[in-house]
């Protein structure tokens, strides 16, 4: 891990439980890190959320996506981004700095077969 990665993790680890996926989507998920969902879902809660709001896998933990949804409703910004269709995780970016990947645009690179937001396909 380089210096930048260490700094990023030192900041985001304690606050958001950052898992260093390298493609941060916190702004669109109610400032709740989806990589803390045991199923690492990027697009909302699964159907297993318990009646009391507990996680299907870890009943004692509140569903990450339930928290994310509630927080996103309270945010002054980015509310609409909650419904974005987020692309599959790029596993090559694990452990790298999402700050650097944001600046270089690397975190927005998706496979050529991935549809863009409008539902059409982006041709490279």
């Amino acid at each position: 891990m380089g210096a930048l990665e260490r700094i990023e993790h030192a900041v985001k680890g304690p606050v958001w439980g950052c898992q260093m996926c390298g493609q941060c989507v916190l702004h669109s998920t109610g400032l709740t890190c989806p990589m803390n969902c045991p199923k690492t879902l990027r697009n909302g809660p699964c159907g297993g959320v318990r009646a009391d709001g507990g996680c299907e896998v870890k009943p004692e933990m509140r569903c990450v996506w339930l928290k994310g949804y509630e927080r996103s409703r309270r945010l002054p910004l980015w509310q609409d981004h909650f419904n974005d269709l987020r692309p599959p995780v790029d596993n090559q970016l694990e452990g790298s700095s999402s700050w650097k990947n944001l600046v270089t645009g690397r975190d927005r690179q998706t496979p050529r077969g991935w549809a863009d937001e409008a539902g059409g396909h982006v041709d490279a």
């Binding site: 990027r42 159907g47 297993g48 009646a51 996506w65 599959p88």
Partner: protein, 312 residues
Amino acid sequence: MSTLEQKLARGDFVVTAEMPAIDSGGYPEIHRQLAPMKAYLDAVNATDNTAAHAHASPLAVAIALRDSGMEPIMQLVCRDRNRLALQSDIVGAAMHGIENLSCLTGDDVTAGDEPEARRVFDLDSPQLIAVARSLAEGRYLSGRVLDPAPRLFIGAVENPGAPPFEYRADRALKKAVAGASFLQLQICFKPEYLERFMRAAHGNGLVGRTALLPSILIVRSALALRFVDEKVPGIEVPAETIARVEAAADQQHECFEVACELAAHAMSQPGVRGLHLISFRQDAGIAKLCTRLGIPPRAEREAHGHSPAVAV
């Protein structure tokens, strides 16, 4: 085009069901499980390691269903396969003429009998739907061309009965936008949750984009209801429903009455395009439920058309 796709495009009322999990016994076992419900169903789900227990693969069961004269819906969950394996199963299914898919997140490995297994979840369900659509448009996720493009009819699942309730119809809409043309809704024992979901589904435009098929579960005892409540992720059975069945002289009969009431309620909701029926045991429950609800056998519906009139 699959007949399920044709029927839903025409606006026909459709009945689908869950194939009980198949382990061994070959085609005779498929025929035995199918026999009591076959006449009423438009399509049957070949399930994918339900409740995180290993069973015969959905691709194999889907092929066997097709060979047995029943239209299959191949379920795919994200728990056991990465994106490569999911794509190869979809393309492989299309090679055998299997077009209907139901894309799910899947129960976690901890729900099953091998909780020590590695969970995959390389894709989530909206991503899997989008990848399936990409295949149907003639390319793998990588962008590599598939020519000719496989014909697919993509479906998914949403749970109207799990928190956050006010968000579920929007999550379903996300799946529709990603490419799902039908949604089999998770079993829901609280009619008010389904009503809330359907209202939101009218409000956000979901009803006009996808066919919604609520699920109805037929069990035979209060013990089974209690098991579902405690062990099946995302399904809550109200205490009063369990108490009602427990107090009944004939529990099997009372369970059937509960299922009839829920089914009639679901069918009365504007925007509902059919039912998905689940019976854990191979029995006459599904045929009996259809008869009770006034849903004729498939052949009769295909010959004369059918708009359900609810009378229970």
